[in-house]
């Protein structure tokens, strides 16, 4: 009755395969781990600096700073007041420091995702072949359970901020890339033809036509990117990223209901603040589409 059992590799064979791959990766880590670690040092320094700045500055200054940034982006008093209230409540419940850590983390992750994602998205929009190549990679990044790619990352970097950063960026960058690509591809062919007819070079076309017209979609990408980074902070806390995620993790481990809910709500409030501010900013950039000839 050989048909019942699937003809799988024998235990011995599997063990050899695993051992070989794991072994060679460990060797690779030992040989190049420090080098790769060094490479990411500036990023870590920047993150630490930002975090320290937010935590050590007096809280009224930080609160005023956030209120100012939100107002400058959204130009809406309601969103600004909401921000101040939310941040004050966070402070009252003793989550100020953790929240600052998380904001620093999400800010750096988002910046990294934008800096890497937009050029990749532009490149992806440049040809169908590139798109066919990049798409499955993005699928993989979004669906592969994050713990799986955390294994090699932790092997190289150990536990700490940088592996957390990498894990978050891997998870949050796909919508950035996808929506940049989509936005550029959706630009009206007629307008592109006009740009060509006036003798635009590739760069001029990109800067004058494609990127400005793709901007609403790109802004949606940035927004998604921020939301996904925030949703990853709990996972990142498992590899030693401090902040609200760690509070949640702590609450799960010890069944602290109140602490868990409060930290969770703090994450939600940051998400809403970021979301409203970026959305309003994106909409303001599109003011030309609001006024319509009637």
């Amino acid at each position: 009755m050989d048909w019942i059992e699937f003809p799988s590799l024998s235990r011995g064979d599997m063990l050899t395969i695993k051992k070989t791959i794991d072994g060679s990766f460990k060797e690779f880590t030992r040989a190049y781990g420090d080098l790769i670690d060094k490479f990411f040092d500036p990023l870590q320094d920047f993150l630490v600096l930002l975090e320290r700045l937010l935590i050590t500055s007096p809280w009224p200054v930080v609160l005023a700073f956030f209120a100012a940034v939100v107002f400058l982006m959204s130009r809406k008093v309601s969103i600004t007041i909401g921000t101040v209230i939310a941040l004050s409540l966070i402070g009252v419940f003793g989550l100020w420091e953790d929240t600052m850590r998380t904001i620093a983390m999400v800010t750096v992750c988002t910046m990294l995702a934008i800096v890497l994602g937009i050029p990749i998205g532009i490149f992806m929009a440049s040809s169908d072949r590139v798109q066919r190549l990049v798409n499955p990679i993005l699928d993989l990044m979004q669906t592969m359970p994050s713990f799986v790619y955390l294994i090699p990352v932790v092997m190289i970097f150990g536990i700490g901020k940088v592996p957390g950063l990498i894990a978050v960026v891997i998870y949050a960058i796909p919508p950035m890339i996808r929506l940049t690509n989509l936005g550029i591809r959706l630009v009206d062919q007629d307008v592109l033809e006009a740009a060509d007819a006036f003798g635009s070079s590739g760069t001029q076309k990109l800067m004058n036509v494609q990127l400005p017209l793709a901007l609403p979609t790109i802004m949606a990408g940035i927004n998604q990117c921020i939301m996904m980074s925030l949703s990853m902070v709990v996972v990142a806390s498992m590899i030693g990223v401090k902040g609200l995620g760690q509070e949640v993790l702590n609450a799960i481990n010890n069944q602290y209901l109140t602490a868990g809910v409060l930290s969770g709500l703090a994450i939600v409030s940051i998400a809403i603040i970021f979301d409203r501010a970026t959305q309003a900013y994106g909409k303001r950039l599109q003011k030309h589409s609001e006024v319509v000839h009637g």
């Binding site: 006009a194 635009s200 004058n208 017209l213 319509v292």
Partner: protein, 343 residues
């Protein structure tokens, strides 16, 4: 400004499909569009086009949709690459230019107006109009000064800071026209530029174009599917069908001597009084007895108006120096205006 250079299109073929180059010979040997499509799955876009577009004049290319007229105009600035043939501007063959030369050619020698306007929605009227100069690298101050002049010239003064979607279709196309004119290029390509506008606005824009042309004398290539528009604007008209030119000449030539039944059907409904010159109908062997004079080169309709106002039955047609060159009478005028062209 010196006389604008004309455009010479010679033996131009465009075949859409992966092996267009190999199909050219088959078409040259007489394969039809339908056969090419059926047997080889290639579409014959343009078939042996030869048009000599005079410098400083308006050349209209007319045809119904699918006739290849939009494909043809895109060969002049090579937005579409030809399969075979030449597009000569002076001594330069547009088809042989390198990418860099082509970009320079497009920047400095051509400007285009589009059927769907193709304005940049995120830019104001002024910023749209400077686009051509901006990518040429003209300093912004200078560019805006030049652009403002043309915005005023097309009648959009005061709308500089509006966005395109705040404007009506007619106004948007004025922006399109101002954008093209600001480029100060010899060649003005107009791809069904007025087709999307309603009839009154369209007449209006035609007048704007004719007024501008009177002082600018650019080489205008104007694509349209509307015969009335073609006859009103065109110094020369080429009629396209299934990718081939079936007749070209002045509006009057086409109306009076249609090359085949297809064109005869087309011109049947035309207001002939606005196309036929008095010179065509006058009797050059006679001189009229009365003092009524009609200028040579005007259309029959205007002559008829003169007859109606004066009540006289005949008039001398005079040339620019006031010398009589023939006689026009009411009878001939009316019959020429109402007799349909037969083939």
């Amino acid at each position: 400004m010196g006389e604008a250079t004309g455009i010479e299109i010679k033996n131009l073929y465009k075949i859409f499909g992966p092996n267009g180059k190999e199909m050219v010979q088959k078409v040259k040997d007489g394969m039809s569009k339908a056969e090419l499509n059926e047997k080889f799955n290639h579409v014959l876009g343009l078939n042996n086009i030869n048009i000599s577009m005079p410098g400083g004049k308006i050349q209209v290319v007319m045809g119904l949709s699918g006739s290849g007229k939009s494909t043809l105009i895109r060969h002049i600035n090579r937005l579409i690459d030809p399969t075979d043939g030449e597009v000569l501007y002076g001594s330069d063959d547009v088809c042989k230019m390198s990418q860099k030369e082509l970009r320079e050619f497009r920047r400095h020698k051509t400007a285009m107006v589009f059927q769907k306007f193709a304005l940049l929605p995120h830019r104001t009227v002024l910023k749209n109009t400077v686009y051509g100069l901006e990518i040429q690298g003209v300093p912004m101050k200078e560019a805006e000064k030049r652009a403002s002049r043309w915005i005023a010239r097309v009648g959009l003064e005061g709308f500089e800071d509006h966005y395109p979607n705040q404007l009506s279709g007619g106004m948007q196309q004025r922006v399109g026209l101002a954008r093209a004119l600001t480029n100060d290029a010899d060649i003005l390509l107009m791809d069904e530029a007025f087709s999307a506008l309603d009839p009154l606005i369209r007449m209006d824009m035609q007048t704007v174009l004719l007024d501008l042309q009177e002082e600018l004398h650019k080489t205008v290539v104007f694509i349209t599917h509307d015969l009335d528009e073609a006859l009103r604007l065109g110094d020369r008209i080429a009629i396209l069908r299934d990718g081939a030119v079936i007749q070209q000449g002045s509006g009057q030539e086409i109306v009076l001597r249609p090359a085949d039944k297809y064109i005869a059907d087309f011109v049947k409904e035309v207001n002939r009084g606005r196309v036929i010159l008095v010179d065509t109908v006058m009797d050059t062997t006679k001189r009229a007895e009365n003092d009524l004079t009609i200028e040579s080169g005007i259309m029959l309709e205007e002559a008829a108006k003169t007859f109606a106002e004066t009540g006289l039955g005949e008039a001398n047609v005079v040339n620019r120096d006031g010398q009589p060159i023939g006689v026009l009478n009411v009878q001939d005028t009316i019959s020429a205006m109402v007799t349909p062209a037969t083939h």
